[in-house]
Subunit: 212 residues, 2 copies
DNA sequence: TAGATTGTTAATCGATTAACAATC
DNA sequence: TAGATTGTTAATCGATTAACAATC
């Protein structure tokens, strides 16, 4: 990052996927352009925030016109690295692993699933979404012979640390962890810990509030 | 909410599940008490933030001692409404619905799954995690004869709005939506929209940053 | 009591919103 | 050109951190 580029706040980065989704919808509806104001109404945020957010990455709009939907969509995709052809492996072919392997949004977003691994002899060899489940014993061999950018971890908690280290040691650059732990590596390894019950708990809180 | 209670910022509420998880771990390790400072090191946040956060709900600690782990854990559980015995139904028994039905953390957090619904004749009647999948045609009948607090939506996007409205009309107070839309109701219906590919995109962004 | 650590106020920092000149 | 809407600076708001008196 060069001297004069200001670091983009995490809070802004976290909003990018949402912009991307909304713009994708507009694109589908064949809407060619949109103003920050019109978008703000749809997304329920302020127009000011939208313009500020986009300006972290340079202006994508045009005065008096607004934003070209397709252009903006592609730019945000680029910023998010969705056009980098990132490859993924899923480790852990249990219920959640299988669900994610079949989750076609990942593919739509430009991520290519190249391998699924498990240690259950009854699962190894079966196919999920056209991809054969391989033995976890073959993981390192596979990683050494294929470029894998992202590891999606759906293994039990007890196995997650060991698995994560294997992945990282073999050059995987990012981990999406669904196990019940919080992984953390040096800053050169990107990690996203996903806890599916967190939003459920937040929901429970909100329900309780509404009752009063 | 009474006059003099200040509204808890969303950002604080969103942190509660994480505190809850960490305290649960401490509890398992038989750690009886912890100071905000020790917890801050573990959780990689500031001790100041921890004390501020807890103080929105009244003080749970004791000067010179710190916090009693079990007590704090239970208090946060109460605040989150985990002891309210909230019941859930899952609508959509595809891969993700099945994975969530088998996801035992939901149950550990005090949520009771009471029904699973689908429209696929091949799935109806099968059992997931001991619960029989019912026809979606029976949804309203079921909701009218059972108290259901939370609806977990794993139906295709095209069906989500209609399903959500059915649930809400039958008294469901909160929705956890995994479909590719953003649901929004009046503020008396709590909604959490979960987009599994969002963290994957954020991860992709981080990887791209690390490359530079 | 002395030491530790909270609860809470005050200071700082960062993010959001408002405003408007620039310009398409 | 006149109107619309951005890009961007300035003002405001809110969240985080620092500091410390209260107190266990």
């Amino acid at each position: 990052m060069s001297e004069n580029e200001k670091k983009v706040p995490t809070v802004v980065v976290k909003r990018l996927p949402r912009y991307y989704r909304y713009l994708g919808e507009l694109l589908k509806q064949d809407i060619k352009r949109i103003s920050s104001n019109a978008l703000s109404v749809k997304m329920n945020v302020t127009a000011s925030q939208i313009r500020q957010d986009f300006n972290y990455f340079g202006g994508f709009g045009q005065q008096g016109y607004g934003y070209n939907v397709e252009h903006l969509y592609n730019e945000i995709g680029d910023i998010l690295g969705l056009n980098d052809g990132d490859t993924t492996v899923i480790v852990g072919a249990g219920n959640l692993g299988r669900a994610l392997a079949s989750h076609d949004t990942f593919e739509k977003r430009g991520f290519k699933l190249v391998g699924i691994f498990d240690n259950d002899i009854n699962i190894i060899g079966t196919k999920i979404n056209g991809i054969e489940v391989m033995s976890i014993d073959k993981l390192e061999e596979f990683l050494n012979s294929h470029r894998v950018d992202i590891g999606i971890l759906t293994v039990p908690k007890a196995a997650v640390m060991e698995t994560a280290e294997k992945l990282v040691n073999c050059g995987v650059k990012g981990l999406m962890n669904f196990s019940y732990t919080e992984l953390k590596f040096d800053k050169d390894v990107a990690v996203e810990n996903v806890h599916l019950s967190d939003p459920l708990m937040t929901l429970s809180y909100k329900i309780k509030q509404n009752q009063n």
